[in-house]
Symmetry: C2
């Protein structure tokens, strides 16, 4: 998979995304975007990840017009409520209480800018959590400090091991990047 | 999660299982069993993982009667055919061709022996593969040499990144251990 020697930039500070993109075996550079991630409350929550991914990609494209840009944004959606990154311990505990015993959606929006083409899509995974007890939630938040994670959990951490009973969709999408779809697009570009 | 100071033995040589059990945060020792893993061709394929897991656990229990034993066996089932570990490159390529473009089942049987109680169960995950082309299969087999893996693939490797479009069930079960169920049992033992 060689993109005509174009430099590829991953516009994300997430170590999970870096790891996932590395797993595809491509060379790239990490340059996180610095955009304001606010969005209109009138936007349909399911469209937020694509909206933010596009915003991030565009900001990098302005700086590196000759590069291929890959950006992504992941949200956790329970009912119609988006759970962002928790600001503190109490918020993290509250979020996990909301996810306990229920199904939620993890949606990752991806934007790939290559030459004059924009690929913008999202992928949705259903995640089913068992009922978490108070001790499990507090142990996790205390020990893993999930303040950089949407919905206050990492599926690849202890909480993902004990809480997730079932998923429907892509596991790697829950980690932050639907790698199979990214591969398919990069592979189609010759 | 403290099992009354009983020593826990993981009866498996799989580095994935070791990693997954470590993720639960429990202390254990790895002592692979050395049993003959053959089974009657008349056995329903879906029952094979439990049968082999029990065999492995019993062989360790005979040697370490005072320990808690955890064993597991994972199979890949396409239609009614079990795909074992491939013996060579050609077998690996054939297996991946069989999985290409289809859904298969990954079934992990688990046996936990603690005190006088036997917990024997299995977990099934549906895995949906995209159509793989010849180059992708050969690249993977050549580079990753999946000879220690049932069905000739590791879901946490390159092939898992590019091929898996969807799963229904537990991801960690596909890696070799349904950690959420193991946690539930260990946690219920006080």
């Amino acid at each position: 998979m060689i993109l005509n020697n174009t430099k590829i930039i991953l516009a994300s500070a997430s170590p999970r995304r870096k790891e996932l993109l590395e797993g595809l075996g491509i060379d790239f550079e990490v340059i996180p975007s610095n955009v304001d991630e606010s969005f209109s409350s009138e936007l349909n929550p399911k469209l937020v990840p694509e909206y933010l991914a596009e915003l991030k990609a565009n900001s990098l494209k302005a700086l590196y017009p000759d590069s291929t840009i890959i950006s992504a944004d992941t949200i956790v959606l329970t009912g119609n409520e988006i759970l962002n990154k928790p600001a503190n311990k109490n918020e993290a505990i509250e979020m996990l209480q909301k996810l306990s015993g229920k199904m939620h959606l993890v949606i990752t929006g991806v934007c790939i800018l290559v030459n004059e083409t924009k690929y913008l899509f999202s992928d949705t995974t259903e995640v089913y959590f068992k009922v978490l007890d108070k001790n499990e939630i507090e142990y996790y938040v205390e020990k893993f400090k999930p303040y950089d994670k949407a919905g206050a959990y990492g599926v690849q951490e202890w909480i993902g091991y004990i809480a997730v009973e079932k998923i429907i969709g892509s596991f790697y999408n829950v980690m932050g990047l639907p790698v199979n779809k990214v591969y398919e697009i990069l592979n189609s570009i010759k």
